[in-house]
């Protein structure tokens, strides 16, 4: 009985996932507007970035305020690799992901041993330091101007499909890791760290694991982003970039993995379609929106939707 229920729930999630995928796959049938593809590609990119942030911050309760480090780090690594080492662009995202996972160990090991705000401080500091180093060597990195990159593929449509594929694979992996593979340790740490420790869960190990996986996906998508935009500037390492996954995840729903995807789609579509009107004030809109959600709706949109469907089910009964 219970097993049937669980199976039903999994099937239902799978069905939603497939419907979502098919809808996005079919969008090119209805429009050939390049700007629509651009917005959707950006949404896919930020969806991966945000759900990777959710894995460390939403699941294991350690907030990273400098995820731009991995996003921008992956982007710059890609630029260096293609420019100096003639690495084919196609391999760059994967290399960037692995390199950023390794970098996350350097940051993560000293911070995650300690409980408290250290990860937030150190990631913030590391991202800012990286940015100032990039700016400090203009003859290598071209400073504020940024570096040009070769695109993975030409054209809006192929890029859209690649980003879509990347998103669905990454989200599936992150979702599987967070909700099936390490579901018990992650939720235990999030709900009560002391209790988790007392039950023999190696809190540091699982936090580090979440952090490394998160850095991998952020580096991967940062590299893809740079290739897609065909340029990378120090902006990719800035606090503004770190703010993006935070806002999208909190608006979408922390600790849900699907929430950040919803958040990314909503926010990117709104900001990009109103770009002319609100470009100057977009950051403050993000900030205010996030504050509103933290204070008034800490579950985000995903949890609100879930509560809504549950409510309906109760009414039906």
């Amino acid at each position: 009985m219970i097993r049937a229920q669980v199976l039903g729930a999994i099937l239902k999630r799978l069905a939603t996932y497939i419907i979502f995928l098919v809808t996005l796959l079919l969008i090119p049938l209805f429009t050939d507007n390049i700007y629509v593809f651009h917005i959707l590609t950006l949404s896919n990119i930020y969806a991966i970035f945000s759900s990777s942030w959710d894995l460390i911050s939403g699941y294991t309760g350690q907030v990273s305020l400098g995820h731009a480090l991995f996003f921008g780090g992956g982007a710059y690594l890609s630029a260096f690799l293609t420019r100096w080492f003639n690495v084919p662009p196609f391999f760059c995202p994967l290399i960037a992901g692995v390199a950023m996972a390794a970098l996350s160990l350097v940051v993560g090991i000293p911070c995650l041993r300690l409980s408290g705000p250290y990860l937030a401080i150190v990631t913030l500091a590391f991202a800012e330091t990286m940015r100032s180093i990039i700016i400090a060597f203009p003859h290598v990195t071209r400073g504020d101007e940024g570096m040009p990159l070769v695109a993975l593929v030409r054209g809006a449509l192929p890029n859209y499909y690649i980003s879509l594929a990347l998103m669905f694979v990454s989200i599936a992996i992150i979702y599987f890791i967070a909700n099936y593979l390490f579901r018990i340790p992650f939720t235990a740490i999030r709900e009560n760290e002391t209790a988790a420790r007392a039950s023999g869960i190696d809190v540091t190990k699982y936090r580090l694991l979440a952090f490394v996986i998160s850095a991998f996906f952020s580096g991967l998508i940062g590299s893809f982003y740079a290739h897609y935009m065909m340029a990378v500037t120090p902006e990719a390492l800035s606090i503004d970039t770190s703010l993006m996954p935070l806002t999208m995840t909190i608006v979408g729903g922390m600790g849900t993995i699907t929430g950040p995807v919803i958040g990314a789609y909503i926010l990117v579509v709104i900001t990009e379609s109103l770009r002319v009107l609100i470009y100057r004030i977009r950051i403050i809109i993000y900030v205010i929106l996030t504050i509103i959600f933290v204070v008034l709706m800490p579950g985000g949109i995903a949890r609100a939707l879930r509560a809504l469907t549950r409510l309906r089910r109760v009414q039906r009964v």
């Binding site: 911050s57 309760g61 350690q62 907030v63 305020l65 940051v107 000293p110 911070c111 041993r113 300690l114 408290g116 705000p117 250290y118 937030a120 401080i121 150190v122 913030l124 500091a125 590391f126 800012e128 330091t129 100032s132 180093i133 400090a136 606090i239 703010l243 935070l246 909190i250 100057r280 004030i281 950051i283 403050i284 900030v287 205010i288 996030t290 504050i291 933290v294 204070v295 800490p298």
Partner: protein, 289 residues
Amino acid sequence: MIGIAAQLTLYGLLLGSLYALAAIGLTLIFGIMGVVNLSHGCLLATAAFITYSLHKWLGYNVAAAILASIIILFIIGVIIERGAVYPFRAAEMTVIILTFLIGKALEQALYLIWGAIYIASPMRIPGSFDIFGTIVPVYQVVILALSVALISALWFLLQKTKFGRAVRAVAQDEEAASIYGVNISLVRILTFALASALAAIAGILLNSVYMFHMTSGWEYLLIALSITIVGGLGDVRGAIAASLVMGVAESFIGYLISPLWRTTVYFVLIIVILVIKPSGLAGLFRGGR
């Protein structure tokens, strides 16, 4: 040679004493509330911008502008404590996120009001004098004297007055302090407001040394954070010692290597301290635990 070294040391002490003003606020807040206020750096920048425009746009004289912006920051401190810290005191990470967002909001407010400009402090003290061939600008001496006086006053406030005793009591054990009749809410509000006012003073004085930009706040946040981590989170004495040492180090590194490495050095320090002695270096000299 000695002349240059003396000049660099003076400059370093000046920077260090200003960083101390910023770091003491941060460390006091951590000691009392157990949270890190990530909007602290942006308070410095906000104060500098408010002073600048009160003087430039509204024609206040410099002293009045400084005083007014300190009072404004004091009030902002009260608002942040009541609005973002107190209601979420049980959830440390929420407070971190909220203060980060408040810092970002302040930075964006500066951007929307003033644009991406660099400002220099309206407080200008001309002149310099010559001691044994070392040229000492008057403003450096004045600022150093001001901040040393402030730090001493603060030390007196924390050690000798009733308020200071209450603050230290709450930092040690909030429940016990409240049993002994300390008004916890008031201590929290006043500490946060005091810390914000100190940040304002640090920002205004630092602005006469460095130019300020809307994003400068984050740089000073990182500097103050690394000082508090080196000194030990929540340790006022450690923060003062660490700021002086790091101010002098920054001044020498800036002269000998390059000023570009300023933030990098601070960052490397954070990591090294977290790896070897997370409770801060101050404990080492006290036969610490």
